[in-house]
Amino acid sequence: MEKGVLGRVDNKIFYAIVAVLSTIVIVGAIAWALEIEYGLILTNMRNVVSWGLYISTFAWFVGVSAGGLILSSSAAVFKIESWKPVSKVASFVSAVVIAAAALIILPDLGRPDRILNLIIYAHLFSPLIWDFSIITTYFIISTLELGLLISADMLKKAGNEKAAKKREHYAVGLAFVALPVAIFTHSITAWIFGLQIARPWWNTALLAPAFVASALVSGLALVLLVLQVNSKLKLVELKLDDKTKALFSKLLLVFILVDMYLLFSEYLTITWPGVPSELAGLYTMFFGPYWYIGWGQWILAFSAVAILAKPGWRTSSKAITAASVLALIEVFFYRLNLVIPGFVHPLIDYPPGMPIGGGVSTSYALSGYSFQIIGQYFPSPIEWEITAGFIAGVALVILLGLKYLPLGSSE
């Protein structure tokens, strides 16, 4: 079993990071407690824009979790030996992030206390039930995969080659299941949105492919980022040669380009015919109140492409770190650009518009803002705090896992 190879100085940095992340998690937990006490009125979601930062982050987490499982199972299914050293880290990252995706639904629910209704009264026609099932499966598979890989390593160390081979064999078998499950996890998450006729901005057959593509971008980006952080903090020994690094960088580049291509095709299909209800979402994305997120997504994508296009930079850890951070934020922006503009222009938008919903204070209800024709939304401090808490929590668990779990390369 590998032990962390921390030096004294690294230790300090590590614990400083852990302390900062823990603080953010605690702030998020307090915010969540407040939200449970007072209700979702503490968020800025209202009847018109009725999903916001939480659901965007949920969709982002689902995508980000892709990389690990796809990487480790591709390594097994296609027998890519050079990827195997990072298989365990990749599966671990997948399991952590998909768990976070499932959990961030809770602060979005009006009645988290009734969560078991999803099992007791499951309505099998609902895409949400499909997603609930596939995410649970995905979590179990990535945890199992990780367990098999770790136990195979341990058996090998104990000299029990035969049993270890058997475990590895199971891991390969599981990988064959994991790959299609991963593809469906992203597709079903897309179909939650894409099947809705009430939201022309979402209602496109291209959404599932675009979700798979963007999942590959953000997923691979997170694995690359974790590898960079790991080598900086020297937590686990991973045997990764420059050739593999360059290959990962190239893959990231290709995934970003494919994703951009799909989105461009979508935008063109909306713009050229110019159907107003279809244009509304695109217009909101680029010229609405969130234009900086709309354009930001593309600037980030182009910047990441520019970095990765230079062959010499594909093995540079600074360049890889920069490109993967840009790619992660780009996909986060994509999720925001998808979820929120979908709500801003309701199909029926005559005055006075839609009421904002119950639980608002007397003075607010009597103000001129109790109806909205065009949806108004910007996340409230509570939403930022809870979301930041989740993201910090993911980072924290990954860091602690790298330090305390046997995730290093075998042999």
Binding site: D108, N117, P127, Q196
Partner: protein
């Protein structure tokens, strides 16, 4: 089988908002929640603003509440079947005790008629008692389903129920009862002799956003507009604004019928002084 539906005659609607207020009262809707609204289809961002320039103005009202769709997107997406379509009479209801507050139905509804309780319900100052229907109401056919309560819990979705607490007792929805111009008709769409059926059969009633295939059980008779009845005159630019461009009364009726207008139910009275 019964299939409850409603026809709203837009040519009769005067935009008085009585139905919206009556609904709010009968169902004890808290501040910020409106199951039923009267929208202005005109030219502004505010209600009661017509489109166009004098004298070529047009405006009508669109009372909007749950459409009780036959193929309801909200029912399809609800992960726990808290929103369900009652098979006995086709009314779409929400079970206050089962809803988990995920708001997927609000994303799915094309008509934007669903309301969420973002926090504990707040009422106008001093109103700490139900002003309308008192007490909980459980679905007549599914007695475990709480489909109406004056004290809604925070964190659940609600919407128009066709006044389920009234129709379960043989009454009509409150908006139908209070409409001062009789613009709303409620009845059984499956009964060919019902008033709603005969109006729809006469062919002039439309559904909202029919292209989406939701097949609402609420129908609208299109509004009666000046251009509908006087096509020969409406486009004459030489007509002086002070001159009457409206033909004699008998001829209005004739021309309206020629334009596919259904007399008897929908024709508005001609304004005096024209």
């Amino acid at each position: 089988m019964t299939k409850y539906g409603m026809v709203i005659d837009l040519s009769r609607c005067v935009g008085c908002q009585s139905c919206a207020v009556a609904c709010k009262e009968e169902n004890n809707e808290p501040l910020g929640i409106w199951w039923n609204r009267v929208l202005t289809v005109g030219g502004g961002e505010h209600i009661d603003v017509p489109e166009g320039e004098y004298p070529d103005l047009s405006m009508h009202y669109l009372p909007l509440a749950c459409q009780h769709c036959e193929d309801a997107p909200c029912v399809k997406v609800c992960p726990v079947s808290a929103t369900y379509k009652r098979k006995e009479d086709g009314v779409v209801l929400v079970d206050f005790n089962r809803c988990i507050g995920c708001r997927y139905c609000m994303a799915a509804c094309p008509y934007g008629v669903r309301n969420f309780n973002w926090g504990e319900p707040v009422y106008a100052p001093g109103v700490d008692f139900p002003v309308g229907h008192q007490g909980d109401h459980y679905d007549k056919y599914n007695p475990d389903r709480l489909v109406y309560t004056p004290k809604r819990p925070k964190g659940v979705v609600e919407k128009c129920t066709f006044c389920v607490q009234r129709i379960d007792n043989g009454e009509v929805p409150f908006c139908v009862e209070v409409c001062p111009v009789g613009a709303r008709v409620f009845g059984d769409l499956d009964d060919p002799n019902s008033e709603v059926s005969s109006i729809i059969r006469n062919g002039n009633a439309e559904q909202l956003l029919p292209e989406l295939g939701t097949n609402p059980q609420v129908y609208y008779v299109p509004p009666y507009q000046k251009k509908d009845i006087i096509p020969p005159f409406a486009n004459q630019s030489s007509v002086n604004a002070n001159e009457s461009v409206i033909a004699p009364e008998a001829s209005i009726l004739e021309q309206a019928e020629q334009n596919g207008y259904v007399p008897g139910f929908v024709l508005p009275e001609k304004k005096k002084g024209d």
